[in-house]
């Protein structure tokens, strides 16, 4: 019971790290990037490659995945994405689905369609007793890393100048521009960091979720659920939503495998209809 809860929390935290970039960019530019999962996939496959081909230690792969995905994000943002901010949501969706298809095809071509598995380092495998429940060391590791990241993010958002500018821009881009905040630059940075976090999440995810070329499509749904339930005005909203989703998903697959997905999707649709600004968002819908 507690094991499932902890597994769910680990999974949820991972989902949050994967999705948080998307939430912020959506809130910031009202831009829907369905290809967000491709950056996570990039991080995941980089880790797999580095570990399997070059024998790079896992702990080195994590920052490498972050940097790789962040640079990739920055490049794409500067060259392609920025042309889409003033286009319709439909265009943005088509464009990002196009990117997803391309990413999937490339990964499929290079690695094949099979699921990739990494061999985690010795010290991260096995199970330990924690508060009377047995939990995988790796799950605990994920929880710790993600908690640190969440705290770090929260600190950056609330304590730094960049954070306050970012929050101002999310609240009202026009006003922020009026106050002389360079929203375009903030967006580029946020996009890069968000992609980087997705890449890091992908790297971390290699130990929990299996990677195959359909990853971006499969996880797109999860990201959308996190966004729709959590809203895009805060990061606590998506965080709670991600934890909830993680626990619900793990518990659902364990207890009621037949209807688990069904319930999650139904909740997503209901939240979208009844509280379009998100379950945990403050203030009225925009």
């Amino acid at each position: 019971m507690l094991t499932i809860l902890l597994d769910g929390i680990a999974y949820g935290m991972l989902l949050f790290i994967l999705a948080v970039g998307l939430c912020v960019t959506l809130g910031l530019m009202n831009f829907i990037n369905l290809a967000h999962g491709a950056f996570a996939m990039a991080g995941g496959y980089l880790t797999i490659t580095l570990m399997q081909q070059a024998g790079v230690p896992f702990l080195v792969c994590l920052p490498a995945a972050f940097i790789f995905a962040a640079v990739l994000g920055l490049l794409l943002e500067r060259t392609l994405y920025r042309h889409l901010y003033d286009k319709t949501h439909l265009d943005q969706v088509l464009f990002s689905i196009g990117l997803v298809f391309m990413a999937m095809a490339m990964v499929d071509y290079a690695y094949g369609a099979n699921q990739q598995i990494v061999n985690l380092p010795e010290y991260l495998t096995g199970r330990i007793n924690f508060l009377g429940a047995s939990i995988g060391v790796y799950r605990l590791f994920v929880i710790v890393i993600c908690s640190l990241l969440v705290i770090g993010l929260q600190l950056v958002l609330t304590q730094t100048r960049f954070g306050s500018r970012l929050r101002a821009a999310v609240d009202d881009g026009r006003v922020a521009r009026g106050m002389g905040i360079d929203v375009t630059r903030i967006f580029a940075i946020t996009f890069a960091v968000g992609s980087g976090l997705a890449g890091l999440g992908g790297a971390l995810g290699t130990g929990i979720i299996s990677f195959d070329p359909t990853f971006p499509l499969k996880y797109m749904i999860y990201f959308l659920i996190v966004i729709s339930v959590g809203g895009t005005t805060t990061i606590t909203g998506p965080f709670l939503a991600a934890i909830l989703l993680g626990v619900a998903d793990v518990a659902g697959k364990y207890y009621v495998p037949a209807v688990g997905g069904f319930i999650i999707y139904t909740i997503m649709v209901l939240v979208l209809i009844l509280r379009p600004q998100g379950l945990f968002a403050r203030g009225p819908a925009r």
């Binding site: 829907i32 392609l80 042309h83 889409l84 286009k87 319709t88 949501h89 439909l90 265009d91 969706v93 088509l94 464009f95 689905i97 196009g98 990117l99 997803v100 298809f101 391309m102 990413a103 999937m104 095809a105 490339m106 499929d108 071509y109 499509l217 749904i221 959308l224 729709s228 037949a258 209807v259 997905g261 069904f262 999707y265 139904t266 997503m268 649709v269 979208l272 209809i273 379009p276």
Partner: protein
């Protein structure tokens, strides 16, 4: 109303204006040629009839999205759900009604498939009335995922991930049996596509169809002039679901099979791509798109499947960045420029 517009003679300008309006709904040469060629394919490409039926079915699905998105502006990522519902409903009707009299007739199956999809479409249409494009997108996607889950989990009914086996439709109208070469399938799918196309054509050129375009353009003003916006959207979403359901029913009948693949996300995405590629809001966009899509898939997919998927994605990206409006949008733009230059001299 009090004034007697009926009794007085319309002005010459009004007569002319009316001729212009009515001229828009007249069949053009290019249109007639399109359908003649489509029919002639029966003789021109006798070895490709199965592929051609498949194109007709995909075209019908894309047409259904055109009605909903291209005309009424409802962004949807879940049209595949109705395709799947239609396929399973018609498939089950054919499977369990086989030999049981008129119920197994494919035409009845079409109505069962389309009707069932329309019912679900009607019920879920209320979910897409409000909200931004983004909400609509996620809601339609969510509904499609729910349907996908049901199809995968309700093994007793749908056969789960193995698909629905043993779909054996009776001869069409009790006369034409589905043959191995796909002759019946071709004529049958093509006829259904044509009939539904003619109806869709009438709809979009009617006052109802015009009101949909107005809603897409400016919902605020349509309400201010007294238009029942929600009613119109429910109506077109239901009609669109019916069309998608019929397309699914056709697919199940002509391939004698239905699988969860029919409701999968990529089905909706592919159909959307076909429409956007051909050009939304022109009726023919989806048909043109499905022809190009399926042909490309055949050619590129034969090299490697990854190759196909890559170019599919690249096409989408390119379309959005460079060719807004698809092929037909491009053509319409050129024609506009030509007439303006012609009128300017």
């Amino acid at each position: 109303m009090t004034d007697m517009t009926l009794s007085h003679q319309p002005s010459p300008e009004a007569v002319k204006a009316r001729a212009v309006l009515l001229g828009r709904s007249r069949w053009g040469i290019a249109e007639i040629a399109f359908w003649v060629i489509a029919a002639a394919c029966y003789f021109l490409l006798p070895t490709k009839l199965s592929l051609l039926s498949e194109i007709a079915i995909l075209g019908l699905l894309a047409l259904s999205i055109d009605l909903v998105l291209g005309y009424a502006g409802i962004v949807t990522l879940g049209q595949g759900a109705f395709f799947g519902i239609g396929a399973y409903a018609a498939g089950l009707a054919a499977k369990h009604g086989a030999g049981a009299g008129p119920w197994s007739d494919p035409l009845i199956g079409l109505f069962i498939g389309g009707g069932f999809a329309a019912l679900i479409g009607f019920l879920t249409s209320f979910l897409v009335l409000r909200g931004s494009d983004l909400t609509r997108l996620m809601v339609t996607l969510g509904v499609a995922l729910i349907v996908d889950e049901i199809v995968n989990q309700a093994k007793w009914l749908t056969g789960g991930s193995d698909g629905l086996q043993g779909v054996l439709p009776s001869p069409v109208l009790g006369i034409w049996d589905f043959d191995l070469f796909g002759r019946t399938a071709f004529i049958y799918s093509m006829s259904v596509l044509f009939v539904l196309f003619v109806i869709a054509r009438a709809i979009v050129k009617s006052p109802f169809g015009l009101s949909l375009q107005a809603i897409k353009g400016n919902p605020l003003r349509t309400r201010a002039i007294g238009m029942p916006v929600n009613g119109r959207l429910v109506a077109i979403y239901t009609i669109g679901s019916f069309y998608a359901g019929v397309a699914g029913a056709l697919a199940a009948q002509t391939t004698q099979f239905a699988s969860p693949d029919y409701v999968a996300f990529h089905r909706s995405a592919d159909a959307l791509l076909m429409l956007v590629f051909g050009g939304a809001g022109h009726l023919y966009g989806g048909l043109l798109g499905s022809i190009i899509f399926r042909t490309m898939q055949d050619v590129l997919g034969n090299i490697t499947p990854q190759y196909w998927q890559f170019w599919l994605g690249a096409t989408l990206v390119g379309l959005v960045l460079f060719v807004r409006g698809g092929i037909l949008g491009l053509l319409a733009g050129l024609r506009d420029r030509a007439t303006r230059n012609g009128g300017a001299k």
